[in-house]
Symmetry: C2
Subunit: 350 residues, 2 copies
Amino acid sequence: MVQPVREKNKITSFDIAHRAGVSQSTVSRALRGSPLVNEETRRRIQAAVEELNYKVDKNASSLRRKHSGTLALLLFEDPTADESHINPFFLSMLGSITRACAQEGYDLLVSFQQLSHDWHADYADTKKADGIILLGYGDYLAYRDKLRKLAEQGTRSVRWGAVLPDQPDVSIGCDNHAGGRMVTEHLLAQGCRRIAFLGEASTHYPEFFARYLGYAEALEQAGLAADQALQADAESTERSGYEAVETLLARGERFDAVFAASDLIAIGALQALNARGLQVPRDVALAGFDDIPMASFVNPPLTTVLQDTQQAGRLLVDALLRLIRGEVVESAMLPVTLKVRRSSLWKQER
Amino acid sequence: MVQPVREKNKITSFDIAHRAGVSQSTVSRALRGSPLVNEETRRRIQAAVEELNYKVDKNASSLRRKHSGTLALLLFEDPTADESHINPFFLSMLGSITRACAQEGYDLLVSFQQLSHDWHADYADTKKADGIILLGYGDYLAYRDKLRKLAEQGTRSVRWGAVLPDQPDVSIGCDNHAGGRMVTEHLLAQGCRRIAFLGEASTHYPEFFARYLGYAEALEQAGLAADQALQADAESTERSGYEAVETLLARGERFDAVFAASDLIAIGALQALNARGLQVPRDVALAGFDDIPMASFVNPPLTTVLQDTQQAGRLLVDALLRLIRGEVVESAMLPVTLKVRRSSLWKQER
DNA sequence: CTGAAAGCGCTTACAG
DNA sequence: CTGAAAGCGCTTACAG
């Protein structure tokens, strides 16, 4: 950090007070909207503020009031993830969170970090932010302790993610289980019988795991068991989706559909299938999860599960503000919507 | 904004001082890395800091030091723009700016605003940020006055955009003119002769205008004049690109190539062409600008111009920090790269 | 409705 | 190398 060049004589509330012929306390009261200030006085102060182009110093204000009017957003990814691209789904969440903050009159501090970093003790402790929104993809079991520590320290935080029993924090997430079930039921209805699942299916990645569980449940209800051989681990990147398909194919597995745990995985899978001469949906039906903007532009357009990021952003900000106010906040789950596009229309193409 | 519940007894530098058996001033010195502190003393202080999990209060620190260690990013869009989606190109810039800030030890405050808002007097004046990065799409002539006011107030700011003579601020932008020329030369080399341009070509949108000028220059060098009838206004959205193609077609214009001033416009154009039964690139060659992630996933993959957002982010942050230090900073232009993909390979398909 | 005063938690010149 | 003290610019209880 750097020593900035000196400001010329900064305007303070004392200057306004002088100009308006009142005390500095009254200026402060007027600007904070106190009902105790005479209308006429308020007007004079307002005029002085405009003439001198005065702005309240937020550092002083925050120091005195003990909160900052700022929320922090921590976007984290696995250390393995490609540094240069951010998952489009998180980007979309970022947009809606920014908007929700603005609506509530809060500023938003944004940061990308590796999970390995000491983020649990950052913004809130230094008083730069009143609370933290956590958003990212990573090994849940590896960072659960950090969440616990956060909560113990009394840091206000909410997280986008799976809603689990017994978790140390407040989470807002979508109904991953229902999403997984809907996709799978749809693929079954297309006549598919051997449906591969691409994505880690373990408690390390609870969101993917819930999607997997929904998938398994739908299969069972159709009288089919989930076949372990048809599951391949993948994290949420195209490369990983590509490799997962290669793995299944190399093992000689046969499948008529692929349910990818995220759109990025699905897009990678699509390329791998094409590279092997398999056409989607004629040879293999394909579906993803997230409905990122790209999903409707790939060829064929991708069937996927829409999570309402606008609503999600609002809910996250809302929950965090209630936490800051000292209210009790429950984790919550958002409904999802199946978006059927051409990539899964297997029946039609036969 | 909201009254947060009261913190239990906050730990201050006085607590650390007490525990380490030194004065509070020495604690402050040690934590700011002053060379005046004895090694042994420093260690004791460090130990106390860790035991008590102390963090310097940034509000107090910023107030005293008169700068905040925070940069602000203002993303703005035309009021007409769709609220829910952010241009992917800006998103990519956001990612690289965030990273560059983190590398320099600065925090980043992010905000989306309409141009109509009074953003020119926000973060910097309230001391929440030491400087501002401006990033967006909008009518330059409409906001130039705001830029001027910003500069007059002494607010440190840099802008992503066209590098123009006589502009009131520091801009970092890519070589739009060269980009436009490269695309057009490439389309000419494919044998195209009637190349439409989609995007506003006026000083209101200097970046698009520079791309247009590069296009016109390439045409002239090939002995062709830019045909006014083949230009259609479009802002940087898919919808707008779609409509621009419809406009040209409705007018009965004939063209064998389309150069869209942005990828979003190009993608909309692609859909409009398809809707009219025109195939890309067989009937019409197509190229865009930006190389957003989606560009390589549309069908056919889109020829476009890559702007190096990683480097751009670094340069923006760098320039702003130099400004904050009081150095003289010049506007700068980044080179661009033509990415040839299938959408423009007209010759091959005939 | 208004003013004088204390104090938020630091940083840094000043004196040793 | 260290400490006592002033002060950054506000907000707010207290007294009127």
